[in-house]
């Protein structure tokens, strides 16, 4: 049995007019209304006129919201201090091309003597290590180190032996890193990385990864991402606007090399601040706006 007063009558009146109250409760409401003529007057012509939605208004680009099956190249999980990335065998060629680029970057960058710790860990597939760029502010040593590598120098060098061998031999004698000529395309890409590196003091964070042995293991990782996705994910967390253009050139280059339909773009507002970005790949799509 309900108890009506001037503070709670409204919710009961709705039920009353909708006819969902029991006979007993309805009688109670009627009694309340008869005792309160001003409320009766207020609701005397109460009528439920439902709003009908305008079906012509539709969300047009439904496909943009849909997701495709993700074919993860590698997976990220948290493990003590370092992130561990395990990778599956899918799209191994693209991993290798990216890996090769990183390999060259590091062979180049660290072919000279340096006291940087990161220099000691040159990427190799056998060691299951990969380097992902991160931006850190004003690391003098890294900056100085990077400045020695210019685009011109990189383009002019040529050598027939393997990168690793040569750079080892050259370590003590020259400031100019020596690489095989057939790697020119990749070198240009690296040069653009190093150019961005100078401005943002871009350094590379070492990330270990391991093979995931079973399908189950792969499915257990929540944050399955492809390498380009990871790049975007990683870099979009960072503030400097150059990281955005860096990401864009990275993704474009990776797309060219792997002949895949990767696309990354971003928009800047009047003040040059990035307010939204889009990223799409055959596996994954995201469009984000900061507003």
């Amino acid at each position: 049995m309900i108890s009506l007063d001037k503070n709670n009558y409204e919710s009961y009146l709705l039920d009353y007019f909708e006819g969902t109250l029991s006979a007993e409760d309805s009688a109670e409401v009627e009694k309340f209304l008869s005792e309160n003529p001003e409320i009766t007057a207020e609701v005397s012509d109460f009528e439920i006129i439902p709003l009908i939605s305008d079906e012509s208004e539709v969300f047009e680009n439904k496909e943009s919201l849909k997701k495709n099956e993700v074919t993860p190249i590698f997976f990220i999980e948290k493990s003590e201090k370092k992130k561990i990335i395990s990778f599956s065998k899918y799209l191994l060629p693209s991993i290798i091309s990216i890996a090769a680029m990183f390999l060259i970057v590091f062979t180049l960058f660290f072919s000279k003597k340096t006291d940087l710790n990161i220099a000691q860990n040159v990427y190799s597939l056998q060691n299951n290590k990969i380097f992902i760029p991160v931006v850190e502010k004003k690391i003098e040593k890294v900056q100085n180190h990077f400045q020695k590598i210019s685009v011109e120098k990189l383009k002019n060098v040529s050598h027939e032996n393997s990168v690793a061998e040569k750079t080892q031999n050259q370590t003590k004698n020259t400031e100019i890193p020596v690489v095989a000529e057939r790697k020119v395309e990749k070198i240009e890409f690296l040069a653009s990385i190093s150019a961005v590196s100078l401005e943002n003091s871009l350094i590379f964070e070492e990330i270990n990864f391991k093979k995931s042995e079973t399908k189950n293991e792969r499915q257990n990782y929540q944050d399955a991402m492809t390498i380009p996705e990871f790049l975007v994910h990683k870099i979009s967390e960072l503030k400097p606007s150059n990281a955005w253009s860096f990401t864009k050139s990275c993704v474009k280059k990776i797309a060219d090399l792997t002949k895949s339909s990767l696309h990354f773009d971003y928009r800047e507002d009047k003040n040059g601040k990035v307010n939204s970005y889009t990223f799409s790949s055959p596996f994954f799509g995201v469009e984000k706006s900061k507003n």
């Binding site: 207020e42 609701v43 439902p50 709003l51 969300f59 849909k66």
Partner: protein
């Protein structure tokens, strides 16, 4: 919820969600963004959301985003300050729905949302309470007040016409 179910929920609910948001914030661009954000949240969380509850999940997320947005833009108006006369005009109305939709824009944001959830989406009061985080009786009060206002507004318009 799996990938196929996620994609199905895009087909099934994106229109309704879009209309709900559009009716509330009156801005197509913003509504589109909000639909996108809402589905993005769903995708991030899709493993924890059951398919049976996905609609209510979507509307809950959208509703709270909307409330934040409205608060940020300070669009909450004091209901007592709304004077229906300022919004009335002498043009002929094609039908009752047109008047109603004009009237609903005059409602305070919280009343508007619950009425739309009720009428557009057919949610029960209990479900609306879950989505909005209000109590069931609060939901009923809002709907009752909104209906009373709508009814009175129509009365006024009819008198004018």
């Amino acid at each position: 919820m799996n990938l196929a179910e996620y994609n199905k929920s895009v087909d099934d609910f994106s229109d309704g969600l879009f209309r709900f948001l559009l009716k509330n914030c009156k801005d197509k661009e913003k509504s589109r963004d909000l639909v996108q954000d809402t589905f993005e949240k769903l995708w991030l969380n899709h493993k924890n959301v059951e398919f049976e509850k996905v609609k209510s999940y979507l509307f809950t997320v959208a509703y709270h985003t909307l409330v934040d947005l409205v608060r940020r833009e300070k669009k909450f108006t004091d209901f007592s300050n709304v004077d229906a006369k300022n919004y009335s005009h002498n043009e002929q109305y094609s039908d009752m729905q047109q008047i109603l939709h004009q009237a609903i824009d005059l409602l305070p944001a919280d009343q508007k949302s619950v009425v739309l959830l009720r009428d557009y989406e057919g949610y029960s009061y209990e479900e609306i309470a879950e989505i909005t985080g209000l109590s069931e009786s609060q939901v009923k009060v809002y709907i009752f007040r909104a209906r009373t206002f709508l009814k009175n507004y129509i009365g006024k318009v009819e008198t004018l016409v």
